[in-house]
């Protein structure tokens, strides 16, 4: 089983944040883009040594996402923590090494995070048209699920990066 160090994963999260803030937007599709940090949080929850590590790692990655955002600090931390908690609850019945599992987990987690974040932004800042919310959420979830499989595969193969 893959095990990771929370510190190394956080470092990888910082690199992923830099990537999200620079190059990733140029590869967006219809305004939606893949969520690399969320993919890392899914990895953190799926392959955690215990639930405490999984929760802490997901939360730290969420805080990192908040650092690069104009939104309130703690929102993504809370959402990533929620996603991580659900994964930790059900991972006993999941075959976590399977790409299909990783794909499904990332898709559902991306839908949850994007949808709730959109609702919070709509309430606190200004209305986002429902068409934009649905379209961007689904497209972003698909892209996130798409990049999750290679990211998790790379992390499972190159264990020195996270162990």
């Amino acid at each position: 089983m893959v095990k990771y160090s929370t510190g190394k994963l956080a470092l990888l999260g910082a690199v992923a944040l830099a990537f999200e803030l620079t190059l990733l937007e140029t590869w967006s599709l219809g305004g939606a883009r893949a969520e690399v940090l969320l993919s890392l949080a899914c990895f953190a929850a799926l392959f955690a040594r215990d639930s405490a590590q999984g929760l802490l790692a997901s939360w730290i990655i969420g805080v990192m996402k908040d650092v690069g955002s104009a939104g309130p600090l703690g929102l993504h931390a809370l959402l990533f923590l929620g996603a991580g908690w659900v994964v930790l609850q059900i991972r006993q019945i999941l075959f976590r090494e399977s790409p299909l599992t990783q794909l499904g987990v990332a898709f559902v987690a991306a839908c949850w995070v994007n949808l709730v974040a959109a609702i919070v932004v709509s309430i606190s800042v200004g209305g986002i048209p429902i068409g934009v919310v649905v379209g961007k959420t689904l497209l972003s979830a698909l892209l996130t699920a798409g990049i999750t499989v290679p990211i998790h595969f790379a992390l499972m193969q190159a264990r020195w990066m996270v162990k």
Binding site: S69, G71, L73, A77, L88, V121, V125, P129
Partner: protein
């Protein structure tokens, strides 16, 4: 069967997150912008990576491309000179003056550090100028005569700009006719409110249905001295007009600028009399 593992409770982290959410944004944003400044070296790395495909092109193809580029550059120069001549003629003919220059606004050039926001629902960019350079919340950010956004948060060396497509960005705006009708000035037309949507386009709302709006027309700002917004700055171009069943038509406004490609922007500092007459509006 081994002993049952005790599951960790998420409540302490939920509590910390809730407390962080309660901290005013002005306090947390300063810290975050300072932290983000630590990522500046990654920006130059990304710029290098963006240009990488051009560097690895085969040499024969590269030579052909270089010839084409030289030809196009020459054409471009000729057209730019022609455009300059025509622009001057147009300016003289209409007696137009630059809205910004006319009102003694000051411009400060700032480099873009990060052209995007990590949240998909917020649209912002980070610039390498802050309070120590005299940057304040609410100042308008431009690229040529086009609005990029408004300063929403400041730290000592960096600031965050709320882009026009952010859902929190609002400005008084009007769709300028493609063909100029003599005797009709923009201020006399029915102005609406431009708002970002977190998508690729913004929206022009709350203007009278009798106002003619055509596809491709420029959407420009109306004068707002309280918030330091001069009139005539371009917000975007009308993409679609949906009259629907409501009293007000919905107009989608497509930004002209590619915000991800911006390397520098101009910060518009209003003259002191404008700044003292009203506080500049901060983004939410």
């Amino acid at each position: 069967m081994g002993p049952k593992k005790k599951r960790a409770s998420p409540w302490p982290l939920i509590l910390i997150s809730a407390l962080l959410l309660l901290v005013p944004s002005t306090v947390t944003q300063k810290t975050r912008l300072t932290a983000v400044a630590g990522f500046i070296p990654f920006r130059s790395l990304a710029t290098w990576a963006e240009r990488l495909p051009d560097k690895v092109r085969p040499s024969a193809e590269s030579q052909e491309a270089a010839t084409k580029v030289a030809f196009l550059e020459d054409q471009n120069l000729k057209q730019a000179n022609e455009l300059k001549r025509l622009s001057l003629q147009l300016e003289q003919a209409l007696g137009m003056k630059q809205p910004v220059r006319d009102q003694n606004y000051r411009m400060i050039v700032a480099d873009v550090v990060f052209p995007t926001d990590s949240s998909p629902w917020r649209k912002s960019l980070t610039i390498a100028m802050g309070t120590r350079d005299g940057i304040e919340k609410g100042l308008l950010v431009l690229y040529n005569n086009q609005v990029v956004g408004r300063i929403s948060e400041t730290a000592s060396r960096t600031s965050r700009v709320q882009i026009v497509t952010d859902p929190g960005f609002r400005a008084g705006a009007v769709a300028a006719p493609k063909t100029y009708i003599s005797g009709v000035s923009l201020s006399e037309r029915h102005a609406g409110v431009y708002q970002g949507t977190a998508g690729q386009n913004g929206q022009l709302k709350w203007f009278g249905g009798e106002t003619p709006v055509e596809n491709g027309a420029f959407v420009v700002t109306t004068e707002d001295p309280v918030n330091g917004v001069p009139r005539g700055l371009v917000l975007g171009r009308v993409a679609t007009v949906n009259h629907g069943r409501g009293a007000f038509p919905k107009v989608e406004v497509e930004p002209i600028l590619n915000f991800q490609a911006l390397e520098h922007v101009m910060i518009l500092v209003p003259p002191m009399e404008v700044r003292t007459s009203g506080t500049t509006a901060g983004g939410r």
